[in-house]
Symmetry: C2
Amino acid sequence: MKSQVLKIVKIGSSILSDRAVLQGFLKDFSSLTGLKVLVHGGGQHATELAEQLNVKVRMVDGRRITCEDTLEIITMSYAGRINKDIVAQLQGMDCNAMGFTGADGNLIEAIKRPPSPIDFGFVGDVIAVNRVLLNQLLGLEITPVFCALTHDSNGTLLNTNADTIASELALNLASSYKTELYYCFDQPGVMESLDDPDSLISEIDPESFEKMKKKKQVSDGMIPKLDNCMHALKHNVDKIFIGNHNLLKPEFETFTTIHKG
Amino acid sequence: MKSQVLKIVKIGSSILSDRAVLQGFLKDFSSLTGLKVLVHGGGQHATELAEQLNVKVRMVDGRRITCEDTLEIITMSYAGRINKDIVAQLQGMDCNAMGFTGADGNLIEAIKRPPSPIDFGFVGDVIAVNRVLLNQLLGLEITPVFCALTHDSNGTLLNTNADTIASELALNLASSYKTELYYCFDQPGVMESLDDPDSLISEIDPESFEKMKKKKQVSDGMIPKLDNCMHALKHNVDKIFIGNHNLLKPEFETFTTIHKG
């Protein structure tokens, strides 16, 4: 049944903001064999654009408060500038990419987050992934490229965390494919101490994660990310890899693998 | 063979720039039965955004000179802000829209226009439409929404006139469907005199068009548009309709029909 592997790869601002790094990364991504999906954020570009357009950037707990002007800016940035640049580049690398928000084909439906305790504005939490259409698109050998926008099915786009989009896609498609999640960011993986590059933790499973949390061997910022990973494993995602922009290189070995143990 | 009708509808800035008009128009579009494609420009929004970002807008013969900064602006405007807003609105009207540039799925390939006699910059002329994939997407009951961007298949997005995208889609799909083209703009149709609303020409065929040109019964600005229509008819597009934002309303009768005669 689940013979095919599906790789879902998420990239963040540290890769997107350096043209040469992005190009190298997309080269590695386009070389991956089999089915694949790319998910990207773009917070840094959106913040720069907001500054140029004199729209105030407001963050609470590292999350962007998304007023109407901010929604317009991230739509221009994520779905326009960044998504289409990636799609065009991948096409130039013989990868048949197609760029999406969650509104396109109703691929990812979300619900606007309630305004209490914090009113994040146009921010959405995923409630449904259109598995049927995604399977059909993958069947046409299309490589979906998702930006961090979903919709409420009622005409409104919603800002949704790209990490969450990647894990929601992975766990919703885990019934059809052997699903692997790749998180590429600005660190070599999960670290015991951010100051010490030698403190990379190469393997984590649910049991060791609980121990690490108790012993405070993992930074606070990393805990929600890892909680998210544990949730994905519980929902039949096969494996999760966390590393820097070299993560997809075939010979590269410096990263963290998260598995069921 | 060609039993199915495919309606390709192009809208311009006059519809896009008025939120209520756009919403009404999309309601009419979503109510169209059968297969349909929407194509939009967005020059007015792009010009406003360029002004806000202090990027000079340069036009020659009504065409935008597309430098690198301008390409970035129109990508944010056309593919981001305008395209995704339309897609989300259509989804709210139960129309399964999916937004595209020509780079997505390699749907529309273009070649950068030679820099002589005028260097238009990143402007592309269509060389190929991916009929196979478009047929597959239409078969999945997806409604494609194209913005006025194509790509060179080598990593670069290109600015391409939305009227041309609509007619290229229509004539490339004319072998698979009975294809109808709808141009919706700020006038009731083709006029003998722009000042006189009663001078609407309700029907045009290739023969009458030649006569009109000789008698100078049609404004200079309209001639390239109509030449384009004649080209589409010659390539088996079935019928072309030109009118204002009410063109898709079932009971509406004030527009121009262009047919083979």
